[in-house]
Symmetry: C2
Subunit: 431 residues, 2 copies
């Protein structure tokens, strides 16, 4: 557009009202399910000391950071993820809380990647963690929250599956096959890419461990290789009625070095087989971040807003549920006051004020537009009611905009009248 | 603390659960009052092209910016405020919306200032704007929202006052006193600092305009100098019953160059006379930001989280209202399931799952702690009820933790039972 010289930066989103409402739908669903399951909310700074991420990763930093020097000469980074900050905060404040901690967070993260469909340079993330409990009951509780989250978005059996694995199974495999401890991370890196690697490269890489793709795939395919933690998790989730949502998949090891045990990913089971969330156990991170001052087992997962939104929009029943929510929240107000007689503006202002004070969302035209135009504004605002203030004040007319029917009432009892009216089945548009 | 090498950066806050709940109280109150008054929510990027702020300010950039070069060589800045981004987005998307636009935003901003009590390097801001309506009815509607916001926090008459002024009165004054147009900004800068300036410096500065402090203060003190817009706003707000909350104060001109007319500040009327919010009309900004492509009058205000929180905590009735909200939201769950017989864990897991699915916040212990310890956990979680699953399953005991009374019920109807129970006057702790 000519003259419009400024745009959002590449990979950054403007949330106009409709986009902001979609964001709020994701946030409200995430927050609601976490609170129903007994998690409490926290938040960490957007900007952190770069050393925190260096420490977490063991010295290797992603090249995809928004990293810079601040005015005080500090090496700082816009957070690419939240777990490092969580570990920092928990190490500092854990004495103040009974264990285990069940904490969740909803916030923005930043990665300097090539922007493309379904991936930006900023994204929102839902982070859920259980800290201070090392047993598989915590992993099961966490995975159950991942399942509850998907159900809350309206997904059903067959839409998604949680694939669960355990690095412990691979540690045992490595020991049984003579892989030295220091080469285990390299070996796990090969397993992580086993489905994406070129066959001849895979053969070559495994040969350095005196292994073949057949032997490794055989290990993955045999349910007898499930760890005892996996079996306990399966039993726990089965008791909750979640058998249809979980399966063993030893090919999942998750790329990041800091995972120490059970790992899992939530997959779209119908279309692209994308992972929509992932996580696992990281029992050494808090000790590592705090230089050994605090030692605490932990397990957690994260879900990003891009992938889950795409999956919702591609899945008819989930998309319809979101659309119903958006329509309920699209209304700018419930009651639009039409000033049919401009000499009654003062009375109209007072009515709007009384309604708002009573918790009813109400609005009125600011200029002095024609009455027909005011009714158009009422329709555009998606209000349910137009409250008409005219020469016959204090007698008021209430037009129900959907049915185009009409009622009358008295200005003196407008709050009681409209409160009762909004409680009727064709109730308030605003949730 | 030994070993805890990482802290939040200076001026950045960790929001542990209690601090996060306070943040959520502010956000929920802001969002609620804006929606009741017919505003819709939007959000802008945290990071913007530095040129946007350069353009808005007319070439002068604050020295207090988190400004850096990104990996693509772009000159970018963590947003110090939201209005520049709003102007950018409105210029781009205004055709999609009926006028006037009533928009609000809640989000974080960043300024590299010296951290001190009541001021950090990041803060949250509530931004409210009306765009596309140039008359005083829009300013009145906006000021009424500022008042409604204060009332929503529990403030009452005498706690705060909105001081309203109009740059138009000073433009008239300048013309009548022979001040050339190009020196008006300099003159307004002197008025802006009139209460803080050293008397002898003030005399000197005003002398360059052939004026004295007495003549200027005389102008400020005379209500006859109120602009016609001020009079219209006063009449509008009086009709709403807000006379006690507003006063004319021509000494307010607001520092920023982009204000064009009515300006106002919400003041703490009891203690420090701090401004807790401020704003005004900026009719040329959108045209300026869009290089003349879109011309649209606008008026808006912002309220930061630091000052309003301090004022709430210093004002007993507002502090009590917040504390009630925080206590209602402090509970980790409503129902804590006590597994009195470990052989009934599977049944307990199923009960928790059914309660959660029904929208009831429920939790249970993850390990197998002793029953007394489980009751302690239930108390610590601030749950209202402990639901005891023991050998007599499917018969369940419900302990009401506050009164230490007890009821019994059947596992088969647990959702109906507890839903009804939570609706009773000693109702759910979770709002």
């Amino acid at each position: 557009m000519a003259g419009l010289i400024f745009q959002a930066l590449p990979g950054f989103r403007d949330f106009t009202p409709r986009e902001c409402a979609v964001r709020n739908y994701l946030f409200e669903t995430w927050r609601g399910v976490a609170r129903r399951c007994g998690y409490v909310e926290y938040e960490t700074p957007i900007l952190e000391d770069t050393g925190l991420y260096l420490k977490k990763s063991g010295g290797e930093l992603s090249s995809q950071l928004f990293r810079f020097e601040d005015q005080g000469g500090r090496d700082v980074t816009l957070r690419p993820e939240v777990t490092a900050s969580l570990a920092r905060i928990v190490a500092q404040h854990q004495r103040d809380f009974p264990k285990p901690l069940k904490w969740f967070e909803i916030g923005q993260c930043f990665r300097y990647e090539k922007p493309q469909k379904g991936r930006g340079r900023e994204f929102h993330q839902f982070n859920v963690d259980i800290l201070g409990e090392g047993g598989p009951a915590a992993d099961a509780e966490l995975i159950s929250l991942a399942i509850e989250t998907m159900l809350s978005f309206g997904f059903v059996v067959g839409d998604f599956v949680v694939r669960v694995s355990d690095r412990a199974a691979w540690i045992d495999f490595a020991a049984a096959n003579g892989i030295p401890d220091e080469r285990v991370p390299e070996f796990l890196g090969i397993i992580d890419k086993i489905e994406r690697e070129k066959p001849e490269v895979l053969v070559q890489k495994l040969a350095t461990f005196s292994l073949t793709p057949v032997s490794v795939r055989g290990f993955i395919a045999d349910p007898a290789n499930a760890s005892s933690a996996y079996l306990a998790i399966h039993e726990d989730l089965a008791a909750r009625g979640f058998t249809d949502f979980i399966e063993l998949d030893l090919s999942i090891v998750r790329g990041l070095a800091y995972y120490t045990g059970v790992v899992f990913e939530v997959f779209d089971a119908k279309k692209s087989m994308r992972a929509v969330a992932g996580g696992g156990r990281y029992d050494t991170l808090i000790s590592n971040i705090s230089d050994g001052a605090v030692d605490m087992p932990a397990t957690g997962f994260a879900m990003g807003d891009y992938v889950i939104r795409n999956l919702i929009e591609e899945t008819t029943h989930a998309a319809m549920q979101m659309e119903v929510w958006l329509q309920r929240h699209a209304a700018a107000c419930d009651v639009y006051v039409v000033v049919a007689d401009e000499s009654k503006r003062a009375e109209s202002l007072r009515l709007v004020t009384d309604l708002r004070r009573a918790g009813i969302s109400a609005d009125l035209p600011m200029g002095g537009p024609k009455v027909a135009k005011q009714f158009q504004n009422a329709e555009k605002s998606s209000a349910r009611f137009a409250l008409v203030v005219g020469a016959e004040y204090p007698l008021l007319k209430l037009k129900i905009l959907a049915s185009r029917t009409e009622e009358s009432g008295d200005a003196g009892s407008v709050v009681e009248w409209l409160t009762a009216r909004l409680l009727q089945p064709d109730g308030p548009l605003l949730a």
